[in-house]
Amino acid sequence: MASKVSLKVKGKAKAGKGPKSKEQSTCELVKEWTTWAMKKTKVITHYGFIPLVILIGMNSEPKPHLYQLLSPV
């Protein structure tokens, strides 16, 4: 869905402007891709960082048991 949106914008930009459009749209494309990548990274980090830490921790030596993760003792 995001890629469809970016193609649409690219089409519009080309139609609207003159011969400079190619350079500008590359620049805009790069900006859009970085913004899209940062947004996705932010969501992934928000939901996935703590599970990642727990995963790495549970696989480190000596391996703790699963019940130790949940019990308060």
């Binding site: 960082f49 921790g57 480190s60 703790p64 130790q68 308060p72």
Partner: protein
């Protein structure tokens, strides 16, 4: 330092305070070390080519901040840290109290709030991962990775569910033989760099620059730190320039004296150029066997203290008090920490 009983044949040239000329002195110093054979312990030979690595730039004032800015809180605080492993730990933290809402008027507005925070820590010598998530969806993540012996990467992110309120920062630290440099990239087009260098076994000087793109702010700062076993003196000078507003600056000085193994006293002075405000703080830090007591008093009329008492193996009681006589704001808190 230059006056000593000269038993050797050739007396050294008088070098009472060592000047900052490493080349000339390096030839002279070996003779000086042989000279000082009197009763007291021989002072260390200063090898100007082998100075110690300075503290990181952001920790320049760490002794002063430990005494003068203890983590005072209001309300109830309960922290539980459970070690599953030598390296892996989970932490649960409950807080119930009032949070202060910044207001324009001189009134203090407090909003009662409470949250539960879950965290996971993984500490390896080379990799450190710390994540904390709160009940309102805010997440705090820290990563510290040693890419090589000298180069370290630190990432700090504070993510929220609200758009445009999240912050992230990447820091690349390079540690040289007697210097440290750091380069930072953050969101809102924040770029910063700082550098600190040891110029003598006790003195280190550093500077930093930063640029915030979105607010068109840029800043320059210089700092110096003189450190011995017994005391630390630091000074800093920051200038921030904004596009529309005239530049502002902050000048600060701090002095920490370690009176004994258990007691240290600290004082701090800060001048804010924009608001022409001067603040001075005096504080103490008592590290005793069973407890740690830190207190401070301010020229703004703020008195604060924090007591951390180790009751038992792994259980610590926290008592915090902060009284602001100027704004008539009183904050008292108590808490318990179980685990480390």
């Amino acid at each position: 330092m230059g006056s000593s009983v000269s038993l050797a044949a050739a007396p050294p040239p008088p070098v009472a305070p060592p000047p900052a000329l490493p080349v000339g002195l390096a030839q002279v110093l070996p003779q000086k070390a042989e000279e000082k054979g009197d009763g007291k312990a021989a002072p260390e030979k200063v090898d100007w080519l082998d100075l110690p690595c300075p503290v990181p730039y952001e920790e320049l004032q760490r002794e002063a901040l430990m005494s003068l800015k203890p983590e005072l809180f209001e309300g109830l605080r309960f922290d539980f840290m459970k070690m599953l492993n030598q390296r892996f730990a989970l932490s649960h933290s409950v807080y119930m109290g009032s949070m202060e809402v910044p207001s324009q008027s001189s009134d203090v507005i407090k909003v009662p709030s409470s949250h539960y925070e879950f965290g996971a820590n993984f500490l390896d010598p080379k990799l450190m991962l710390i994540g904390r998530v709160l009940t309102d969806g805010r997440m705090n993540a820290r990563v510290k990775c040693d890419l090589t012996d000298n180069l370290a990467l630190k990432i700090h992110a504070q993510l929220t569910n609200e758009p445009h309120f999240s912050q992230g920062m990447f820091q690349f630290d390079y540690k040289g033989k007697d210097y440290r440099s750091q380069f930072q990239i953050g969101n809102n087009a924040f770029y910063g760099a700082n550098y600190i260098q040891s110029v003598s076994p006790h003195l280190s000087l550093g500077g930093e620059i930063f640029w915030i793109g979105h607010q068109r702010k840029s800043g320059v700062g210089f700092a110096a730190r003189y450190n011995t076993d017994k005391m630390t003196v630091t000074g800093y000078f920051d200038q921030v320039a904004t596009a529309q507003v005239a530049s502002t600056g902050i000048v600060g000085l701090s002095y920490v004296q370690k009176v004994s193994e258990k007691v240290s006293l600290a004082s701090d002075f800060m001048y804010n150029q924009m608001s022409r405000d001067v603040t001075s703080t005096f504080g103490y830090d008592y590290i005793l066997r069973q407890c740690r007591l830190r207190g401070k008093i301010d020229t703004n009329g703020v008195v604060g203290a924090l007591l951390e008492e180790r009751l038992n193996m792994g259980v610590t009681l926290l008592l915090s008090a902060e009284i602001d006589h100027g704004k008539k704001d009183y904050k008292f808190g108590f808490g318990l920490t179980v685990g480390e």
